[in-house]
């Protein structure tokens, strides 16, 4: 064990918040003292048994963890290759993995004495999870959401409002996740004394990428235990979708030091990587830059202006990615692949028809890649997909894409 720890890929970030060249703290001075406080508060919470036990209690009784590891029998048979398992984060309370992170951060916000919560959201899954924990703990909540996303994810907008959150549509730029994050940062810088910014993905200034990963890594830890019980061994491949990358880093982290486990992240390939500004695949179609507090792979033009990107999935429609993924890409430990809108739609329907599970369009990107590799693997091989969320929010837009009569 000690020998492994010396070369471990699970040690990051360093004390300056860097994973290799990625990560860091690229924020305005107004926020810097707060970010240093946040790191201190997080370090103290990490070691506090009361904090951990409260989080575990909420995971069990509020979120419904552990989430099941489910053998997708019909889909495996249909594809005729590897045995496919779904890690059912869609069964988590609020319908996605996002709650894992929100539970951790809301407890931290309370420890820090913050009285107001803000968040950004793309598909609305993180917004709903944030509104949910704010309702649970009685804190006022404002969620910034791109105006385009408000229109395409209406059910989640209604859920947030019912939970008592204020949803502020952001019209700047293309009205998607990047613009929502800019606006959340502007609010934070204005209300820095009272407000806690509950970032939804494993990106942003240090310590957010580390903290969000730590709150999400329960996914991979449960997978390890469950697959040992079901198959008596570790999986041959792990697959997850990547926008900012929080479900993926949560799924991958526990397996980074297992050389026999192949790890793959599925990015939003949109209309295809050859279509300019027609995808949101920052690692397969972007290059390193600095945005939203960290250095990471970004979609940008030759002048360093950030592109909007495109994905059918509002949750993957972000021009950046968490810095730990950027580093894992460069080290070669994790392979990142683009999946197009069309492939994701096909996977969405396959999952719905063969397994009776309507997946989130985000998760369908991961599944689409599983559907590519499973037939090429022998039937004694095992793939685990993180089914990060359920697709209720997407049925209307998928119906429209497929031309189904409403």
């Amino acid at each position: 064990m000690n020998k492994r720890a010396a070369n471990s890929l699970r040690q990051g970030p360093d004390e300056r918040g860097k994973f290799g060249i990625f990560g860091g703290r690229f924020v305005a001075e107004t926020l810097m003292p707060l970010i240093l406080d946040l790191e201190k508060a997080y370090r103290s919470a990490q070691k506090d048994p009361a904090f951990l036990s409260e989080m575990n209690d909420l995971r069990t009784h509020f979120a419904g963890r552990p989430s099941p590891l489910y053998y997708a029998e019909r889909l495996s048979a249909e594809l005729g290759g590897a045995r496919i398992y779904f890690k059912r984060e869609d069964l988590n309370h609020t319908g996605s993995h996002k709650l894992n992170n929100c539970l951790g951060q809301i407890l931290l916000a309370r420890r820090m004495g913050k009285t107001r919560i803000i968040a950004e959201t793309g598909a609305g899954q993180h917004g709903v999870a944030t509104a949910t924990v704010c309702a649970r703990f009685g804190l006022p909540c404002t969620v910034f959401m791109g105006a385009t996303d408000v229109a395409r994810q209406m059910p989640n907008v209604l859920r947030m409002k019912m939970l008592g959150a204020e949803v502020r549509p952001v019209t700047a730029g293309a009205g998607t996740l990047k613009d929502a994050m800019n606006e959340a940062l502007r609010d934070w810088v204005t209300n820095v004394e009272s407000t806690y910014y509950l970032i939804g993905t494993a990106a942003g200034p240090h310590p957010y990428p580390e903290m969000v990963r730590d709150f999400q890594k329960v996914i991979g830890e449960e997978i390890r235990e469950q697959i040992m019980e079901l198959e008596g061994r570790l999986p041959d491949a792990l697959v997850a979708c990547i926008g900012g990358g929080s479900n993926a880093i949560g799924t991958f982290h526990d397996f980074l030091d297992e050389p026999n486990v192949q790890i793959i992240g599925a990015e939003a390939g949109g209309h295809g990587l050859d279509v300019e500004n027609g995808h949101a695949a920052s690692m397969t179609g972007g290059r390193p830059g600095v945005l939203h507090g960290n250095r990471t792979y970004l979609l940008q033009n030759e002048d360093g202006q950030i592109l909007e990107g495109h994905s059918i999935s509002a949750g993957l429609d972000y021009p950046g990615v968490g810095p730990e993924h950027a580093w894992l890409r460069d080290t070669g430990r994790v392979t990142y692949v683009p999946v197009t809108d069309k492939e994701a739609l096909d996977a969405f329907m396959a999952c719905t028809k063969f397994e009776g599970i309507i997946p989130a369009l985000e998760s369908a990107h991961g599944l689409a890649h599983v559907m590519k590799i499973a037939p090429q693997m022998k039937s004694d091989k095992v793939i685990v997909l993180c089914l990060s969320g359920r697709g209720d929010k997407d049925v209307e837009s998928v119906g429209k894409h497929l031309g189904m009569a409403l």
Binding site: R25, F26, V27, L31, M32, A172, N182, V290, H292, G304
Partner: protein, 275 residues
């Protein structure tokens, strides 16, 4: 008097017992030719120091006025290379007025730090303000910029306490930019008395001039803030003057004059700060 253009300019305004008037305009707003005319006329309108915005797609610390200015510039084809060229053209006729480039790090990072510093120095840039590079990231640009002979001007804010001030001031040069509030550019200053107190507090920790910006919109603001500060910075009001002069998004013959007239009024306010 030696030192940089910025040092010399603050020495001059100090000798005249008035705050320096620092004007912010966005490079390439609303287009390159009009922006050149705006820039060229700023010193005679009363600008002691010019901050030239480097347009960026995602200006997280800016309010709507400066966001829109950046968008106009980018839509008209502005880039960091062209921003540097703008400075070079200005310098042909003005070798005295300091120019500070202000913006965000990513375009500089993509341009290449070394090349950017060399080109900026050659064009006649005097200093840099990069909003998303706190002291913790000094190795990225601040230290190389200082080594290249540029001033690196850091923002201090109401959240920068005395303990942190030492960290923030350590590699700051030229002047200290005090942000009058926790907020974005163009917002309202809630407490003017607190601004004066903060300026005194910072001056207790450094011999550098202290300029105050964010939320200064009227000649009265400039006069009040300029009583204790070594400089007052106005930005949103000037880029709004650009915006208000446009017809169907296009610059008019009076666009540059609209900005200069705004600068004259505000600079007058700053001049009577201590009279």
């Amino acid at each position: 008097m030696t030192g940089t253009r910025i040092d010399r300019r603050f020495a001059k305004t100090k000798a005249e017992n008035r705050p320096a008037f620092v004007s912010f305009v966005m490079a390439g707003d609303p287009d390159e030719a009009t922006a050149d005319a705006i820039l060229a006329g700023l010193p005679s309108a009363g600008a002691d120091i010019i901050e030239l915005g480097m347009p960026f797609s995602d200006p997280m610390a800016d309010g709507v006025a400066i966001q829109l200015a950046g968008q106009r510039a980018l839509a008209a084809g502005m880039s960091l290379r062209k921003t540097i060229d703008t400075v070079a053209r200005f310098r042909r006729n003005d070798d005295e007025t300091p120019i500070v480039l202000m913006g965000y790090y990513n375009p500089i990072y993509i341009y290449g730090v070394e090349k950017f510093l060399a080109d900026a120095v050659a064009a006649g840039v005097d200093g840099l303000i990069v909003v998303d590079l706190p002291a913790e990231e000094d190795e990225e640009l601040c230290l190389p910029a200082l080594a290249a002979g540029l001033n690196f001007i850091r923002l201090t804010t109401p959240t920068t306490d005395n303990k942190r001030l030492a960290t923030v001031l350590k590699n700051t040069s030229g002047f200290v930019y005090y942000v009058s509030m926790t907020g974005i550019t163009g917002a309202e200053i809630k407490n003017r008395t607190a601004v004066g107190e903060a300026v005194s507090r910072i001056k207790g920790h450094t011999n550098l001039p202290v300029a105050v910006g964010f939320g200064i919109k009227t000649p009265e603001d400039a006069a009040l803030i300029g009583r204790g500060a070594d400089g007052v910075v106005v930005g949103s009001a000037l880029v709004s003057a650009v915006a208000d002069s446009l017809v169907d998004g296009k610059p008019q013959p009076g666009t540059a004059e609209a900005v200069h007239s705004c600068v004259r009024k505000l600079a007058e306010g700053a001049k009577r700060a201590r009279s």
